[in-house]
Symmetry: C2
Subunit: 335 residues, 2 copies
């Protein structure tokens, strides 16, 4: 198996991406193609002597999409942009998946232009998994589409439904629509119109839900636009970090607290690690004809490594075929 990694994407690219790729190659037993500036990447690879060196190669390209560019225009104009070339490698059968910590909107555009959309899907989206008290909750979209129409939000629900059935093992996923009150009349215009689409569908729609439901786990899927979803994702991560930091600081200030910290640290770290993007690595881009994992812009080598491992897991589990079959069975193109 070969994973194409966008070596130029991310705040600390290409250094951390190369380090993460080397670790992933060693731990996951896969080949990795780093897509980016050949000279720079080869120099970096030489500087990190690693036993997995043989499994990491470089595919040259001389452009990159910057974070302040308009993603669609950049992908159209920059044919040699690293994220675009990475998806080209999948298209031509030289890789099975793409991992990128670059501009998520650009990754979406490159995935769509390079591989096309799954049948019935016009707007692919990013799906983030949150640790709910009663079980995992899939929040979709967490950042690929910032201005959405109700029909797009409905598609997010359909894709998440298929994902929950194939990858989360939930037979009849319950879907909620993120809003600011559970009553039908509440929320903004977008929510009110989207609610009607869900109500008319065959999906198990549970109505509007509030932000707190992301952490109860009473529903398996929560739908929102990419602006709200990204704020929710980043807020949760920031809060997990703060909770860890402040709690440790406060506990350390008293003797009983210090003892508590030493005794309970393992549990605390395990718990909060579920919201740590270094641990989960990245989120899948659903709706394109291929596997793409989008990592944080600020990813560490560990986060990149885990993002690659997530891509490997999806490839090994025939994620794409299963999603395609599921979407077809649900007849979503007809909705």
């Amino acid at each position: 198996m070969n994973v194409a990694v966008d070596a130029m994407g991310g705040d600390n690219a290409p250094e951390v991406v190369v380090q993460g790729a080397l670790k992933a190659a060693a731990e996951a037993g896969v080949d990795i193609t780093l897509v980016g500036d050949q000279k720079r990447l080869e120099k970096l690879l030489e500087s990190y002597s690693s036993s997995s060196m043989d499994h990491v190669s470089v595919h040259h390209c001389d452009q990159v999409v910057l974070m302040n560019e308009s993603p669609l225009r950049a992908i159209r104009e920059k044919k040699s942009a690293s994220i675009r070339v990475a998806f080209d490698l999948v298209k031509t059968g030289r890789a099975e998946a793409v991992v990128s910590a670059g501009h998520s909107g650009a990754a979406l555009a490159a995935g769509v232009i390079g591989l096309g959309r799954m049948k019935g899907i016009t707007r692919p989206a990013l799906a983030g998994l949150f640790p709910g008290e009663q079980g995992d909750v899939l929040l979709i979209d967490v950042g690929a589409n910032v201005d959405c129409r109700p029909a797009h939000l409905f598609q997010f629900g359909v894709m998440a439904h298929a994902f929950a059935r194939t990858c989360m093992g939930v037979r009849e996923p319950k879907i909620g629509l993120l809003s600011i009150g559970t009553e039908g009349g509440k929320g903004n215009e977008q929510v009110r119109q989207t609610r009607e689409l869900f109500e008319e569908s065959h999906l198990a729609f549970a109505g509007n839900v509030e932000g707190r439901e992301i952490f109860t786990g009473a529903l398996e899927v929560i739908v929102c636009d990419g602006f709200v979803g990204n704020v929710a994702l980043k807020l949760s991560e920031g809060m997990a970090e703060s909770v860890t930091g402040l709690l440790k600081k406060e506990l350390w200030g008293t003797w009983p607290g210090r003892a508590a910290l030493l005794l309970g640290r393992g549990t605390l770290d395990k718990f909060l690690g579920r919201l740590d993007y270094e641990e989960y690595g990245g989120v899948p881009l659903l709706g394109i004809k291929g596997i793409g994992i989008i990592c944080h812009g600020g990813s560490s080598p560990k986060a990149i490594k885990n993002g690659i491992k997530l891509a490997v897991k999806y490839v090994r589990n025939d994620f794409l075929e299963k999603m395609g079959l599921e979407l077809e069975e649900q007849g979503i193109a007809a909705d």
Copy 2:
């Protein structure tokens, strides 16, 4: 001092509201006027024998705004709605502040219609205080305005600026605009246009910030529309609850964890209590010519009590006069 409490607002009204009011009267040494169905309220008051009974009176009204009503229409048509009558009591000098756990949009409309807006403000907003690592962060709006124009978001920033100077003791509050990336080109259309307004202003604008900044505390004010802000508020509260629940459950499962829990429980509770709406009670409605505290729909008696105590604090500290002077000094009407 007399506080008018919307006895009919909230999921568990009027029972929990009456209980909370009795507690607040006892602890804060204020008089409270319960606004709502006289017969029902007097019967409830009789059933809770309390030493503070003499400080709690009833002002009859026979309507209530339901959660699924259009708030503006309801307030215009229902002249005897409890939230509207509560603000009327302030207007006629019979109360100094209003506390409500009912429909927040209706409270906004009732405040505006009953008392009017502060000079230069067209859209009052709800300001929520978050515990950041470096200090408190004011998020505005957390639910009063779901569909906002850029000019409204700018006003939220101006009001929060005045609030931070007068109530948080910050001389030069730094203001961020909530988005999904710090680059100017990122975010949705609303964010891009609002950013320009802040950049042209005299405020200390720090640019776009991501959701994680709500918990770092590097900025004192973060501006967003009421839909995003309400999702953020509810999500944070839900997460704090889940963290508490899961952590305690996981720690309890091992002997060292159990010991840690017993030793560190005080610190844990103190920390997470800062995000517990039972503790902070409610959030202030900024921009109306009066003091209004909005509590959660699902408020417990304790939450109502703390919401009333917050109102009392604002009255005692001449919050309204200070905000007015600050807004005048900043010359915001001219912006």
